[in-house]
Every structure is written in structure tokens, then in C-alpha cells.
């Protein structure tokens, strides 16, 4: 069970379920495929030693965001068979775009791609980058102190925005 096999397994899982998100006819099934995809990404993060991010990915994305999606889908009652079959032009152009993507990736790989920097060094490192919580704390509250403040402010504004959006205002509802 080398990490390589794990990588290919989780990469296939992630990409496959991501594709299923797009192709699924049922919105709830799409949301669940998104969930699988996100858990796959979290596993990829674990392979990259970013344990905190993996846990956060599961906690925030898989635990809350997708649950919110499901909640809204059920609330709006719009699931089930809402996808019309794609038009022929769409399929052709998608195939063309897929060919372009493959071409791009192949060219990228063919040109020697990016060097994997110092692969040996990372293997010998005592603690891999992103594995310790302490590093995050230090970075967040020294170098990235201003972004942290801004993000906090952003969250506050988002909260206010959601409250305003979901509040019913008198009189506005009649305007159609």
C-alpha cells in the first residue's frame, strides 16, 4: 500500500465523483457526489501532510456546506429529473473542449512540466510542512494577521447579509 496507489485511488475517486456532480440528473445525488469528492480531496490533503486542512475540509465543507446545500435542495423541493438531455452542439463542443484540455495537459507533461522541488529533502524533513498546528498559528497571527482580521470582518458582513436576505420585508413580496 504505497502512497502512490493511494494517490491514484483518491484522485480517481475525487475526479469521478466530481464528474458525477455535473452529469447527475438528480440534484440530491449531485450534492452527495460533491460530498464524496470533497472527502476525496481531504484524503489528498492527508497525503500531502496537511492534516489540519484535511480536518477543516471535512468539518467545513463536508460537514456544513454540503449539508446546507442538501437542506436548500430539500427546502426548495426542486430535486429529481430536472436535467434535460444535452444538446448535440453542447456535446460536440464539450468533446472539443475535452480534447483541448487533454492536449494542454499532455503538452504540459511533454515540456518536462514543473520540477518536483527537492523531493528528497521533504522526505528527510523532521516534521513535514503543514503537519503541525503550531506553524499555522504562528503564520496566521504574525505574517497573515491582517488577512485574518479581514476574513473575520468578512464573515461578520456575510452573516449580516444572510440575515438581511432571508428576512421578509413588508410590501416587497407583492412586487412581481
Amino acid at each position: 500500500m504505497s502512497p502512490d496507489i493511494l494517490f491514484y485511488f483518491f484522485a480517481a475517486l475525487t475526479a469521478g465523483s466530481a464528474l458525477a456532480v455535473v452529469l447527475n440528473k438528480n440534484t440530491i445525488a449531485s450534492a452527495l457526489c460533491l460530498l464524496v469528492s470533497l472527502v476525496g480531496v481531504a484524503a489528498i490533503f492527508v497525503l500531502l501532510d496537511a492534516f489540519l486542512l484535511a480536518a477543516l475540509m471535512v468539518f467545513v465543507y463536508a460537514g456544513a456546506v454540503v449539508a446546507l446545500f442538501l437542506f436548500i435542495v430539500m427546502l426548495l423541493d426542486t430535486y429529481g429529473g430536472d436535467r434535460k438531455p444535452f444538446k448535440k452542439a453542447t456535446i460536440v463542443s464539450s468533446g472539443f473542449a475535452l480534447a483541448l484540455l487533454v492536449l494542454g495537459l499532455v503538452t504540459f507533461a511533454d515540456r518536462g512540466a514543473l520540477e518536483t522541488p527537492a523531493a528528497e529533502a521533504s522526505a528527510t524533513a523532521v516534521v513535514p510542512v503543514g503537519a503541525s498546528l503550531r506553524a499555522y498559528g504562528e503564520q496566521l497571527f504574525t505574517t497573515y494577521l491582517l488577512p485574518v482580521q479581514i476574513v473575520g470582518f468578512l464573515l461578520l458582513i456575510a452573516m449580516l447579509g444572510v440575515i438581511v436576505l432571508s428576512k421578509k420585508f413588508e410590501g416587497l413580496e407583492d412586487v412581481k
Binding site: P3, D4, Y8, A11, T14, A15, A18, V21, V22, T27, S30, L34, S37, V41, I44, F45, L48, D49, A50, L53, M57, V60, Y61, V65, L68, F69, I72, L75, L76, T78, D82, R83, S94, L101, L105, F108, A109, A113, L114, T116, P117, A118, A119, A121, S122, A125, V129, G130, Y136, L140, T143, Y144, V151, A158, M159, G161, V162, L165, S166, K176
Partner: protein, 101 residues
């Protein structure tokens, strides 16, 4: 063949492309929204991979912010979709054509 930076970047590119096509192809706002999330996640894969192989913290911290902002964005976006549905009784983009004529 060992898995290096490039394989992670391929994965990231594929995920991003899938999300992108989802946004273009689907008519359901909720699905479009999920595909947007997929694109964000694809970018985080690339960032974490860069961070891991370059042995710096910056990419990881950036992903931290992406997660935070994505959570806020989903909350606001879904609230907008709900408000939209309340007003128009549909969430299909092709039926949201009030500005057309």
C-alpha cells in the same frame, strides 16, 4: 513512477475543468453553485501541493483563507438562491430572463 507535484497539478486541472464545464453546462443554479465550489477546491489542491513540495507554509495558510471565504460565500449565495426562489418560483437560469425583452 512516484507521485510528484505534477500529478497533483493534473488532478487540480481536471477538477477545475470539471467544475468549469459544470458551470457552463448545467441550468440549475444549485448545481452551478456546487461546480463553483469544485473549482475552488481544485485550486486548493494545487495550493497545498505547491506548499508541500516547496516546503513553505504560505499555500496552506492561503487554503485556510479559501475555506473560510468559501463558507461565507456559500451561506450568502444560498440565501440569494432562496430569496430568488421565493420571488420567481424557479432556480433554473434559463427561466431567469427578466431583463431579456
Amino acid at each position: 513512477m512516484t507521485v510528484g507535484l505534477n500529478e497533483y497539478l493534473y488532478l487540480s486541472a481536471i477538477l477545475f475543468a470539471i467544475g468549469f464545464f459544470g458551470v457552463l453546462l448545467r441550468k440549475n443554479t444549485l448545481i452551478i453553485y456546487m461546480c463553483l465550489e469544485l473549482m475552488l477546491v481544485a485550486s486548493t489542491v494545487a495550493l497545498v501541493a505547491f506548499s508541500h513540495f516547496n516546503r513553505t507554509m504560505d499555500g496552506n495558510v492561503f487554503v485556510f483563507f479559501i475555506l473560510t471565504v468559501a463558507a461565507a460565500e456559500v451561506a450568502v449565495g444560498l440565501a440569494i438562491i432562496v430569496a430568488l426562489f421565493r420571488r420567481r418560483q424557479t432556480i433554473m437560469v434559463e427561466e431567469l430572463n427578466a431583463l431579456k425583452n
